[in-house]
Symmetry: C2
Subunit: 676 residues, 2 copies
């Protein structure tokens, strides 16, 4: 066991709050904390060396995949031994520090079956799936179609004679493309295909198809494989899948809602949309988890920035500065820290709202459905965008060493980079949220009811007339003032958008719908501004609600939320100055306030990342180690590189193959200068 | 040869200008174009299959390195055969589509020797180096010190007895760390070490050290190896290097300026700083090349967005839209396109200025030196930041397929991600530029002379009092108005900074210098604003100067520069509204103008990327192919994945190793639920 770096020790002793309290808050209370700590302890690499992530950057992709399967096997054992399920299981997977295949089976495949299969079907399939006797993937996207699900091309044609569906990929572009776990792992897939009966196309429905048989061999008519290496996420086998007239029994169409009878009769209930319901859950999951990836990267960056000393030695009594003492680095990293904690509140809020909705639905009340759908879309986009931007900044903020895989940051970045795309492309999600806002505002304008979460739109004229009367930092960052400012802003640009749309649609050949296509930028701005409002609102309300229960961490979290808010105002200052909601004096107060926040956060920085209790194996980072001994770690890690191991045996990779030839210049002997 | 996708064919026929004219401009005139086309033709993969990049994502790192050496060997043959050198050689290397090792030798190692060695030394070393009989790297950075070069720890102690230097790494943190080409390729290094004579430390100097001897074996006392995999740049062998009392002859200290005589006497000329001069050249190179990486990524993204059809089929006569017809995607990609062309002008300007400077220096006139230093620092930071932000956006703008390595975009992103860090961390560079601006302004304020490029600061009070009187888009985007707006802005915040510094320094224990540390954010903002001014100025002046010679492309380039400018104003609108330089009406005009620019650019988009004449091998992208047959390419490429090749032979990677066990559930038999 190495000793902890003395600089880090000192930092840890200077934190203004007890870490324990912050951990309790992050993990969700004493019970949850106890459980989560226990779950993390199950992953101890001393007991389970197979869970070590250390060499992942040195091994080729196929080996990396196999290594992940071995981890998965170990996790299944742990799961069975300790009867872990549901959210605990997800947390366990997350805590391995790597993308884990079971997520695809447990968070996409099973919930899709649960959402779309009839009772009898569930009785057959769920036990198999829960037992991992079969392994499934979610196969919706095709080479030619991702976002526009209505245009999927795979067909499922009902064959009266045999009471089967024939699954077929009529074109190259109909090849299923992307499903995670499809390429090598899955035995089954839930696929989305056009239902065809007697030549009539009933649109996209879901079916369960077995992909592989004995010894894992693909079944006849099934062309399945890996789509190749990706930016990140390379231990996951995203695959392609092509069907050549593959038959499945009729009862493998998911028939909770739409049904096909033995005589080929199609029936469907009135409420559609439900087919893609899994994605809403997946989006909510992305919102909930958005702070997590960022917290990991920041834990690395902040620990490193507290042991890295560089520069300033001419003015600083000939001692070099701890780099986190530089204002600009604080500015970069603490802004990200403010995002982490703000999103933590949003995630909790989203989760609660979803639970309320689910309870309502179980009571037959669908009044929150549309809200949940739109809010989760817009928030998924906002949260993943914010995290992605921050991650891209963090990798650069660590200087050269952050660029090394052994820093742990590159894989956080490239694994996460899919999040703005999957479970709905962020642009498209924001357009959906924007449309919902447009409709809500039109309703408000015409005195019709608005969705519950947008109740305030009925007061839009009052909101538009408001200006800030605050004159101090305290007043400006008062929770109500924060919410008021953002509500004003999104309402203003929403109102402006509506009047622009009304005006333009008069001359647009495709009317109102057509006009919208000229205002896509504005629609997305509106969605963003609205989701920022939700974010600021839920963070402030969430924080105020814990003021007494978590009184020791309240002050620093208040600073972080204020910082998030102030950065927002400064970033969009033009929008607030435009109609004099704020004036130049307000802006000055915000700018100064931001600098003061940085100063306040500085001594607490280490506590704010330590409290997440990430294990060293999970961070898998030479720079982010708990003990802060970064240089030893970088050096020892490098020594494991295959080329260094080879060199120890006297093999110089590249030398015999090529370099020898180059340095001897033999290979140039025959070559003479040609005339131009 | 596959047929060109008809959508692309149609797009190509609708471009408003002849591509040829734009290519001439990009390549720098008819002569240069002819030469560059010839250089590109030398890389034809049909003639030189070893130059193919196709499988680079499927092979492990060691193989990737060897493959690059094979390419290097082929390039050396081509170089010799056609007597290619200087910029042509750099262009050839760049056109391979991959990071190429010789860059490190030719752009860092040789110029360092040239800049720092005496005549006699050059006579010995340069022929060897030019011939690649030795291969060198630039070894400055250490584990513990990158930006703060003054604190490097490696020592070079003069040994009177033997007339040698003893090179030693006294600590772990003194290990050289990062030099490209060091780990496996280099035979020699130019290293930076503290010169110690008779116990006295003379600071950091440069020395040439041989690293490897016969059969490439590291020489005694030299511990050299690879620092391990990185975010990108993985065919390059960045290395570590530790010395244990290694002796080199005295004449391997670079002695152009500072000298050590046989009797251990040290002498040095008055002007210091020169030691790190190579980095200025390298920065200028990064500025010049910044548009290139972005153009590559955009070429892929725009071609793909013109063949990808997705959505909008309900309003669009049941045809799906070409995704580049969506306003928001135009907004994202054309903003990047405006950056490409703006930076192309900046690069040309920077290059010209550098040539003027070099000419002056050769005539003994160093008056431009400080300008070049500061401008190249700030511009390097601005350009690489802009490109990095754009690249991060482009990878997300392509939907799911952009996330695949076969899209070609991920490697552009992760190879480029080092640019904001290397040759000077962007933060630190901007602080340098900021300091130079502070000094210049103080001079102006006190009636002392300002640097040539900042001549206008003497009129600062007039500049500060200016407001825009423009009332139309044409007036607002008039070249002079663009320059005026940015000059006003950076002068205003510079003046504000100075007055803040003066005020704060009164109470700051470390005075003015200390006060600066509380204004780092502001100093960096000033540097950015100033470099934007240079950017806008050089782009507008550059463009106006080709108005008649390149009259067919002038109109679209004008739109692109206007778009760049307008986006800037909108992004920083708060700053311009704050002192009423612009008013809300101006902002409205800019917002509308941006949308109009997008419309104008849309039909020319394909021409604006095609004209760069990137070869398919260079882009190495299934999405960016010239023929637009993206789906075939994605599919065929995936088929090459090793796991798919194995499967064709009946081997299912992961199955026998692990999955079999999992699906049989044998491995769970012994495991029983434990009690909590
Ligand atoms: C790592 C990863 C894992 C995945 N896992 C799965 C999985 O398990 N199962 C599965 O079925 N799929 C999976 N996918 C696929 C994923 O769901 C799709 O890639 C995603 O929905 C985006 O769709 P697309 O690729 O068709 O993008 P496109 O729709 O083609 O988007 C291309 C561009 O066009 C724009 N655009 C498209 N339509 C519109 C519109 N109407 N208005 C405005 N702009 C528009 C987009 O914003 C984007 O910029 C995965 C993808 C990735 C990257
Ligand atoms: C791909 C790659 C290739 C490289 N190739 C070479 C090579 O060939 N030869 C070679 O010698 N080196 C090489 N390097 C090293 C590179 O030059 C350094 O990594 C770079 O200069 C940054 O220095 P650093 O890592 O010490 O960052 P640090 O200085 O440690 O920076 C860490 C953080 O602190 C901040 N910071 C540091 N000092 C200050 C200050 N005074 N004021 C405000 N903020 C500060 C930085 O902005 C950054 O956010 C390479 C690096 C990479 C990534």
């Amino acid at each position: 066991m190495s000793l902890v770096n003395p600089d880090l020790l000192k930092e840890r002793s200077g934190v203004s709050f007890p870490n324990e309290e912050l951990t309790l808050f992050i993990f969700g209370g004493p019970e949850e904390t106890k459980k989560k700590r226990w779950l993390i302890s199950l992953l101890d690499v001393n007991k389970n060396p197979v869970l070590k992530n250390e060499d992942k950057h040195f091994i080729p992709r196929d080996k990396y995949y196999i290594r992940s399967l071995e981890k998965m096997k170990k996790l299944f054992q742990i799961k069975k031994q300790h009867d872990i399920d549901g959210e605990d299981w997800n947390f366990l997977l997350l805590s391995t520090g790597e993308p884990m295949l079971p997520i695809l089976h447990d968070v996409l495949f099973i919930p899709t079956l649960e959402g779309q299969m009839s009772h009898e079907q569930l009785e057959k399939w769920i036990p198999l799936a829960k037992d991992y006797a079969i392994f499934g993937c979610y196969a919706q996207t095709e080479l030619g179609h991702g976002s526009n699900v209505r245009r999927l091309e795979t067909t499922a044609t009902y064959i009266h004679e045999t009471d089967e569906f024939e699954i077929h990929s009529p074109t190259l572009t109909s090849t299923k493309w992307w499903p995670g776990g499809l390429a090598r792992t899955s035995t089954h897939a839930v696929i989305f295909a056009r239902l065809i009966i007697d030549g009539k196309d009933y649109g996209v429905h879901s079916f369960v198809v077995q992909l592989r048989g004995e010894n894992h061999k693909p079944l006849p008519g099934i062309d399945v494989g890996d789509i190749g290496p990706k930016f990140g996420f390379n231990n996951i086998d995203n695959g392609f899948l092509r069907f050549t007239h593959v038959r499945i029994p009729r009862d493998q169409m998911c028939m909770k809602f739409s049904k096909v009878s033995r005589d080929g009769k199609y029936s469907t209930p009135s409420h559609a949309k439900v087919v893609y319901g899994t994605l809403v859950t997946a989006r909510i999951y992305l919102v909930e988890r958005s702070s997590f990836a960022l917290a990991k990267a920041l834990c690395i960056a902040i620990r490193y920035s507290l042991v890295r000393k560089q520069g300033n030695d001419t003015t600083n009594n000939h001692n070099e500065s701890i780099v986190l003492d530089y204002q600009f680095l604080q500015y970069r990293l603490f802004n990200s820290l403010s995002i982490v904690y703000t999103l933590l509140f949003v995630g909790k809020w989203m989760k609660d709202l979803n639970e309320i909705n689910e309870k309502k639905i179980s009571e037959g009340d669908v009044s929150l459905m549309a809200d949940i759908h739109s809010i989760s879309s817009g928030l998924k986009a906002l949260c993943t965008d914010l995290v992605m931007e921050s991650l891209n900044d963090i990798i650069l903020a660590c200087g050269g060493h952050g660029y090394l895989r052994s820093s742990g940051i590159p894989s956080i970045v490239d694994d996460y980079a899919q999040s703005p795309i999957v479970e709905g492309d962020n642009t498209i999600l924001q357009l959906q949220t924007g449309r919902y806002l447009i409709k809500a505002f039109e309703n408000a304008k015409n005195g019709r009811p608005t969705p519950a979460t947008l109740f305030y739109l009925k007061d839009y004229s009052r909101i538009l007339s408001e200006r800030s009367s605050a004159t101090t930092w305290e007043e400006l960052t008062d929770p109500n003032e924060q919410i008021k400012a953002l509500t004003h802003y999104h309402t203003r640009i929403l109102a402006k958008l509506i009047s622009n749309l009304e005006e333009s649609s008069k001359n647009h050949p495709q009317g109102y719908e057509g006009a919208k296509s000229d205002y896509m930028i504005d629609i997305i701005n509106v969605s963003r501004a609205y989701c920022y409002t939700i974010t600021i609102t839920s963070a402030n309300e969430g924080l105020e609600s814990i003021k007494t229960t978590y009184s020791n961490i309240y002050p620093i979290l208040r600073v972080l939320i204020n910082l998030f808010f102030s950065n927002y105002i400064i970033k969009y200052s033009g929008e607030f100055l435009l109609d004099n909601y704020f004036n130049s004096n307000h802006i000055k107060i915000f700018e100064l306030g931001i600098k003061n926040c940085l100063k306040t956060i500085r001594p607490d920085a280490i506590g704010l990342v330590d409290s997440w209790e990430f294990s060293d194996n999970m961070l898998n980072s030479a720079l982010g180690r708990y003990d802060g001994n970064v240089y030893e770690a970088l050096y020892n890690w490098a020594k494991l590189d295959p080329s260094n191991l080879a060199q120890e045996k006297g093999e110089y990779i590249g030398y015999n193959e090529v370099l020898k030839d180059i340095y001897s210049k033999e290979y140039l002997k025959g070559i003479n200068r040609s005339k131009l």
